[in-house]
């Protein structure tokens, strides 16, 4: 599957295209198939996202996951600071990242 990701213009936070909007959570990401380029152009133009790009992903029981380690780290947060990730209270949250 193909996913769209970028950073929020104002905050810089990592965001994922949900099919209608942008979310901080990879679980909300939607498969954009072949439509990625067109969505990127429109969304970047509308300033809803900064520096967006298309990545490969895979569907898992827990939701979509980026194929490359770099985007998996982006999806959750630094592996060395679990307290700063999106799920600071869940010690198992990062199990799929590496």
């Amino acid at each position: 599957m193909k996913l769209l990701t970028g950073n929020d213009l104002k905050t810089g936070f990592v965001t994922w295209w949900t099919g209608a909007d942008w979310s901080l959570h990879i679980e909300d990401a939607a498969d954009v198939g072949e439509a990625g380029e067109a969505i990127l152009a429109a969304e970047e133009g509308a300033r809803r996202v900064n520096a967006p790009y298309i990545i490969n992903g895979e569907q898992t029981a827990d939701g979509p996951r980026p194929a490359h380690i770099k985007d998996r780290i982006r999806a959750l947060g630094p592996t060395v600071r679990p307290d700063l990730t999106l799920k600071p209270a869940d010690p198992a949250a990062g199990d799929w990242v590496i």
Partner: protein, 543 residues
């Protein structure tokens, strides 16, 4: 400490106003990211893995308590309560919001700091010896010269769009604590027959093509230093490769021209440049130098240290260095707790170090290229109080220059250019070697880790260096041995095939075991390596 004059203030304030307007226009959609990116980079604002990243310059690594507290304030108010001190004596914040950037720069300007020229193809923050002004072995304080270079290079109209970034270091001791010869220009203030001059080493660097800077001129009279630097840069600006980013650094130009031909061109250019009156009048230099006058230190202060607390004594032996004034010492604060993140400090720790500097170190602190902090002027009689306060804040790890005093770049946990993570490897190595007795047995051992070939973690210059690479989408680590960034400068040699994260920790243990078996009396790891060569280590690692 240098104090901004009206020109410094005006320049920085004008830049804050200009960038604030650029941010406003970007947020309002008046400019695109492509237009905005070069503008934000000129102000130290990157877009990294998790958010914007702001790199703040600490000129030649020197700052006062007020500035240090501002760094803590920024971490607390705008970031996530910590900062990362870097190998270029800067600090990076990893979670900055674009909309906050103007306010942060305003806060910085209020304490005479900024993020200008911390990115882009310009002359970057001038780095120096973190013990400058205090070291027992220096011939003079190099910082007035570093400050002069800072003023000369700030907004230098001719050198704002060089072929590539440009890094300058200035030292004034034979012991090189600033990796001087791994800079685009390394300047060593030297003494010849009672006269001070500048030795110019040009064309060093790390990155994908590491090179040690050759000596271009052994003695430039200090009255000519700026003109000579200008000539060095002009030749580079004219002939540096703008067509290929991988060949754009000055080291490649000098390598291709040869040091002799480069020197000839610089000398020729210098004759012309010298007629332009770039070097400041003596009165102006004296005005700058006066601001670096040594603090009033009482040379009759007691020299003895009460070592009755054994933990304190261990720390003194490892982290405290000789000061040029008797009764005083240089305190090195390790930002490398075992299992911690090299170079990271929390707002509370930054504040505490500021408080200690104010109370015990004449209001001065330094950031080191090894990602530690220094209190340069502490009375020996105050060392115990300083240690107790540091210890209570987790800042008294007695590991300076030992195997757990690791330099590590942010790597794939934070950096968008990374191939592999650096920090977890550093944590695992420090944890494996956590026993202090074992670390001390190994002695001086400089371990440096970069998460990609850009070499921000100085891995080429590590006695043991680790480079993270991407092997078919998984992290892999190459090991190199025998580098040094000090006065015995050398580049490491790769041992062979790479390892996974745990594998590289095991390999290092085999390397250190081999060293203990091979070394002769008084040999550091790197000395043994140089004597016996790679073969026995390779054998130990790969069997």
């Amino acid at each position: 400490m240098y104090k901004y004059d009206e020109y410094d203030h005006a320049m920085v304030d004008a830049r804050v106003a200009e960038f604030s307007d650029q941010v406003r226009r970007r947020l309002a959609g008046e400019i695109t990211e492509d237009q905005f990116k070069p503008l934000r980079l000129m102000n130290g604002l990157y877009l990294q893995l998790h958010a914007y990243m702001l790199r703040v310059a600490v000129p030649y690594g020197t700052l006062d308590s007020r500035q240090m507290r501002m760094l803590a304030h920024i971490a607390r108010k705008y970031d996530r309560d910590y900062g990362h001190f870097t190998t270029r004596q800067n600090i990076q914040y990893n979670w900055i919001k674009l909309e906050d950037a103007p306010a942060i720069l305003e806060d910085l300007a209020s304490v005479e700091m900024h993020a200008i020229q911390t990115s882009g193809n310009c002359i970057r923050n001038i780095s120096s010896d973190q013990w400058a002004g205090a070291a027992a072995d220096e011939i003079t304080d190099p910082r007035p010269w570093a400050e002069l270079l800072r003023q000369w290079s700030s907004f230098h109209p001719e050198f704002s769009y060089l072929p590539r970034k440009f890094k300058i270091a200035v030292i004034a001791a034979n012991e090189d604590r600033a990796a001087m010869r791994l800079h685009d220009i390394g300047i060593q203030i030297v003494d010849k027959d009672g006269q001070h001059g500048a030795a110019f080493y040009v064309g060093g660097g790390m990155g994908r093509t590491p090179m040690i800077a050759p000596l271009i001129k052994d003695f430039v009279p200090l009255d000519d230093m700026l003109s000579y630097a200008e000539a060095c840069l002009r030749v580079y600006n004219r002939y540096g490769r703008r067509d290929n980013i991988y060949k754009a650094r000055i080291k490649i130009l000098i390598h291709e021209l040869g040091a002799d031909e480069y020197r000839r061109q610089v000398e020729e250019e210098f004759k012309h440049v010298k007629s332009l009156g770039i070097d400041p009048p003596k009165a102006e230099f004296d005005r700058i130098a006066a601001q670096f006058a040594p603090p009033p230190l009482d040379a009759s202060a007691p020299d003895a240290i009460d070592r009755s607390d054994p933990d304190f004594a261990v720390w003194v032996d490892q982290n405290v260095a000789a000061h040029k004034v008797s009764g005083h010492a240089i305190v090195n604060i390790s930002l490398k707790p075992i299992g911690g993140i090299p170079g990271d400090a929390s707002s509370a720790q930054i504040d505490l170090m500021a408080d200690l500097a104010e109370k015990y170190s004449h209001d001065e602190l330094r950031v080191t290229h090894a990602q530690n902090i220094v209190l340069p002027h502490v009375r020996k009689a105050d060392l115990y109080a300083v240690w107790q306060a540091l210890d209570a804040a987790g800042l008294a790890t007695p590991n300076l220059d030992l195997i757990s005093d690791i330099i590590a770049c942010p790597g794939l946990d934070y950096c968008s250019l990374a191939n592999a993570r650096s920090i977890p490897v550093a944590q695992k190595i420090a944890t494996r070697f956590s026993d202090l007795g074992r670390q001390k047995e190994l002695g001086e051992l400089k371990l440096k880790i970069s998460g990609c070939i850009n070499a921000c973690g100085h891995h080429h210059a590590g006695h043991i260096g680790i480079l993270g690479v991407d092997r078919k989408g998984t992290e892999n680590y190459q090991l190199s041995l025998g580098g040094s960034g000090a006065e015995d400068v050398s580049l490491g040699t790769i041992t062979g095939p790479g390892f996974d994260e745990d594998g590289v920790v095991d390999a290092i243990e085999r390397v250190t075991d081999k060293y203990l078996a091979e070394r002769t009396e008084g040999e550091r790891f790197v000395d043994t390596f140089r004597r016996v060569g790679m073969a026995p280590f390779k054998e130990a690692i790969y069997g």
